[in-house]
Amino acid sequence: MNTLRAKYADEIQAILAKYPPEHKRSAVMPLLYLAQREAGYVTVQAMAEIAEILEISITDVASIVGFYTLYYDQPHGRYHIQVCTDLPCALRGAEDFLKALCQALGVEVGQVTPDGLFVIEEVKCIGACHRAPVFQVQGDGEIVFHENQTLETALAVIEALRQKAQQEKEGTA
């Protein structure tokens, strides 16, 4: 059974309506977003379902997931801590900052923390070069910038997010 289609029938219809029926394969991008929103990443099952909806091969869908860095084919942390290490930031110590942050959290770039909450990513310029070290947190549908960071301030941000998640879990949020 196609669970995506069953759960999001209307939304999928609305997406498909934007494209001429003979080019419905073009709807692959929004459908992938939908699938990623649903599970946090694009599951193989979701790829198969999208392929079925669009009448293309699952391999073609997977190829698109693989091409775009913002589609994930593996479970990812709820929060993406994206540290810029581009040249201007590097000159302001971003590389050391990143290393220290990884050490403090006990993970490498790209790895998810054991609680499943955070993943550290290295990114290119995010437009705040003069306030490096800088990172943005992507998660819960928003993007938050944190500038002029030190290891301590960064850990505080992370701790706050962790507490938020904990409270949610205990139902005290």
């Binding site: 091969s57 391999t59 997977a62």
Partner: protein, 823 residues
């Protein structure tokens, strides 16, 4: 031909058709431009930059529109500031191309150096080593040394199974995209694709099973490196150790041209064995492709189950015997009895059929073709003719495909019909269920199995849009099969289709005609020589004085025929294996496989083609035609039996359609385009050049008298409301004796099952995986159900050659099978 364009390449002036790409024009002129991503059978993409050349064009005076001339009166040529890709640039009038200059050499050197930055260079253990475009072009143009850091090489997975058939070595892949483009554009199975980007770019498959395509093996031929290899051949041999022999695929009526690669092998006790099967170019038949059944389905010839000794029945048991004993015994059995019936299957060669026919007719016997499909005589009179090539079909032409699933039954015809549709021919597909070919059809005719004849008759009546499309086509090629048809109904179908060609005025045209989608490679050959199917085979066998079976296993296919055979007076069997029929025989002769002997087959398009011996025969076996001649000799009937070519000469003398043919004539070749299989493997891939024969199409027989009315056949109506029409359908990978020994394909082989429409399954109260008992009179089977929305209602589809004794469609009663309570 269209307009010609004259240009100069490396000082050589040539004229080629307008629109041709520089790379192909150069090839025509004998000038090699190295390529990786370009392939002459696919659209160019310009991805690899290996083909860069200097291109100059005449400077045109804008005011006069005339070329500006140099002082010496030659046109002034302006070269571009940058090199251009010869694979994407079409030729133009007055163009000047330089492929041998310093700049070009530097560009090539640069590209090779880049490609090698992450190439493992494991040529010594690479299957492609020795026939590798990258290796060859590196030798020819590469720098020999790299300026890049060795430590920075990417290391990627080296044994990635893309399914069980094809392996990927990610390090070796140079990302040319040929495989992906072949699968998307040629095979239309987009089951492999690129994932990731930059240096992490790689080929992936997500289909189930992996790399799910009948054409997958072809990607290993066109891959310009050793990145794609077949599980069958990888690490099997080095290309230069193998001896190539021309052959023909034994598996379906297309008759794809093959090259068998053979090597002596320590592991086989020093014997020569087949290491791999490769396509051989024949632009009239398979171009440069073959399907995976042809590529991997040769292992039956080396099965340990092969018969190695004649057997003779003594005191009720089959005992080993010498050839002399067995031949004498067979002759004696025949001499004592009248009413001999030869029952021959479509795997025999023309020579085998011919000799068998000679003997049985000399004994006033009957030559019966073991087949449940008719129409071969119509193909003789209304088939394609002369040099007609399906590749010639395009705009204004039409192709009609009736009662067959070409993708499963004859994959290369599927491919060629698809291509005809893509070139603009009107494709009309008629079947009771959807098939893959319908994607390209302009019209789809759907019918209930029982209505097929009425539907085709209505095409003759001419009112429908389909009928009009057929009527106005310049050329009309009709492929017809037997899905859902009895022998009598298929006879009626063939008659109607021949009538359609006559009525539309297409029957006389060379590129119009009937093509029968037979179950075997040489069923058409059987028809040509005079064998005919028998609608009441059981009766014929049961009342025969003697039955002489060759390349057929009636007892294994159908218990009713097994019983009939028990009643026959005397049974001779010639086969590769100890079949159920052989077990019931009085004499069994072990025959040679097609890889061990010479012979010819007649394809469904009536092209007679030669196959050659590639490996020494299995000891103590003989070719079918020779066995027949030797038995005949004991009976005092003189037949040629020493060499296949001499039998063929006799045949050519006896049969008008074969007049003038000989083995020499069949071995003739002409130059084909694209040029492949020469020293420049980077261009076409590792497909073999055809040097041993393109074969010859048989002359069309004269139509003779007016076409008779077709027999009034009525497909039996449903005996009861809840009856199910059980239809055997063809799956490419079945459980036939000539495929099962190819273990590699096991996972993909069809199993005995009953495919039902959801509504039918619901009516019976069953789901996928549950079992249903189907029965008709004494005939009963219990089958596992698969619910499939593509199956017509009230029909049950059963894959052929999977062990279910169903040769023809049958009305049955069906009910859910109740499991016996365990005691």
């Amino acid at each position: 031909m269209g307009k010609m364009v004259t240009l100069t390449i490396d000082g050589q002036v040539i004229s080629v058709p307008q629109g041709m790409l520089i790379v192909d024009a150069a090839k025509k002129a004998g000038i090699d431009i190295p390529v990786f991503c370009y392939h002459p059978k696919m659209e160019p993409v310009g991805m690899c930059r290996m083909c860069l050349v200097e291109v100059g064009r005449p400077v045109i005076d804008r005011t006069t529109g005339q070329p500006i001339l140099e002082a010496d009166g030659t046109p002034k040529i302006q070269f571009g500031p940058k090199l251009e890709t010869a694979c994407t640039t079409p030729v133009s009038e007055g163009m000047v191309v330089r492929t041998q200059t310093q700049v070009v050499a530097e560009a090539r050197r640069g590209i090779i150096e880049f490609l090698l930055t992450s190439h493992p260079l494991d040529c010594p253990i690479c299957d492609k080593g020795g026939e590798c475009p990258l290796q060859n072009l590196t030798m020819a143009y590469g720098p020999g040394e790299s300026r890049f850091q060795y430590e920075d090489k990417m290391h990627l997975a080296k044994h990635v199974p893309l399914g069980e058939l094809i392996y990927l070595d990610r390090e070796r892949c140079i990302l040319c995209g040929r495989c992906v483009r072949f699968q998307s554009n040629v095979a239309d199975d987009p089951v492999i694709a690129f994932s990731q980007r930059g240096r992490a770019l790689q080929i992936v498959t997500f289909s189930e099973p992996g790399f799910d395509s009948y054409f997958s093996g072809n990607t290993t031929d066109i891959c310009p490196v050793g990145a794609l290899t077949t599980a069958d051949f990888r690490f099997g041999a080095r290309p230069w150790e193998m001896i190539p022999t021309a052959s023909i695929c034994p598996h379906c009526p297309v008759g794809c041209n093959l090259t068998l690669n053979v090597r002596r092998e320590a592991a086989a006790g020093g014997r020569e064995v087949i290491k791999r099967v490769m396509p051989r170019q024949n632009e009239w038949v398979n171009e440069i492709w073959i399907c995976d059944k042809g590529r991997f389905g040769y292992h039956y010839t080396e099965s340990p189950e092969r018969l190695r000794q004649p057997l003779v029945r003594k005191n009720g048991r089959l005992e080993p015997a010498t050839w002399e004993e067995a031949l004498a015994f067979a002759a004696e059995g025949l001499r004592e009895r009248s009413g001999v019936v030869a029952l021959a299957g479509g795997r025999l060669s023309n020579e085998d059929f011919f000799n068998l026919y000679q003997v049985v007719t000399a004994r006033q016997g009957r030559a019966v073709l073991y087949s449940t499909m008719a129409g071969g005589d119509y193909v003789q009179r209304y088939g394609l003719s002369g040099d007609a090539n399906l590749a010639g079909l395009g705009k204004g032409d039409a192709v009609l495909v009736v009662a067959t699933d070409l993708h499963e039954e004859a994959p290369l015809w599927w491919l060629r019909v698809k291509q005809a549709a893509e070139r603009g021919a009107t494709l009309i597909v008629a079947n009771a269920r959807p098939t893959k070919l319908e994607r390209y059809a302009a019209h789809v005719i759907r019918y209930a199995y029982s209505e097929v004849l009425e539907k085709v008759q209505s095409l003759l009546a001419g009112e429908s849009p389909e009928a009009q499309a057929l009527a106005k086509a310049t050329n009309l090629v009709i492929f017809f099969g037997q899905e859902g048809l009895s022998l009598e109904a298929s006879e009626a179908l063939a008659t109607m289709l021949a009538r359609l060609l006559v009525q539309n005025g297409q029957a006389e045209r060379p590129l119009s005609g009937l093509v029968a989608v037979w179950p075997h490679a040489n069923t058409q050959g059987g028809w040509e020589i005079g064998f005919r199917p028998d609608p009441d085979l059981a009766h014929t066998l049961a009342t025969a004085g003697a039955v002489w079976v060759a390349a057929a296993d009636p007892a294994g296919d159908d218990p009713i025929l097994a019983q009939a055979l028990e009643k026959a007076g005397f049974v001779i069997v010639q086969d590769l294996f100890l079949t159920e029929t052989a077990r019931r025989a009085d004499v069994v002769f072990p025959v040679q496989a097609f890889t061990e002997r010479e012979g010819t087959w007649t394809s469904g398009e009536r092209r007679v083609q030669r196959f050659y011996p590639a490996v020494p025969e299995l000891e103590n076996t003989r070719p079918d035609f020779m066995i027949v001649a030797q038995v005949a000799d004991h009976l005092g009937i003189p037949l040629v039996g020493r060499s296949a070519s001499r039998v063929f000469d006799e045949l050519a003398r006896a049969l008008p359609a074969f007049a003038g043919l000989s083995y020499t004539r069949l071995a003739e070749v002409v130059e084909q385009w694209p040029l492949v299989g020469r020293g420049d493997l980077y261009y076409g891939g590792t497909v073999y050049e055809n040097t041993q024969g393109l074969g010859v199409r048989l002359a069309r027989m004269s139509a003779g008298a007016e076409l008779s009315e077709w027999p009034a056949v009525e497909i039996a109506p449903a005996p009861a409301d809840d009856a199910l029409y059980l239809v055997p359908v063809v799956r490419l990978y079945d459980q036939g004796q000539t495929l099962v020994p190819s273990h590699l394909l096991q996972q993909r082989m069809a199993r005995a099952a009953l495919y039902l429409a959801p509504a039918t399954a619901a009516q019976l109260g069953v789901q996928t995986g549950e079992r249903v008992e189907v029965s008709a009179g004494e005939w009963a089977e219990t089958l596992t159900v698969y619910v499939d929305a593509n199956v017509p209602v009230k029909a049950g589809l059963v894959p052929r050659s999977t062990g279910v004794p169903l040769r023809q469609p049958l009305w049955v009663r069906a009910q859910r099978a109740v499991l016996e309570p365990q005691p």
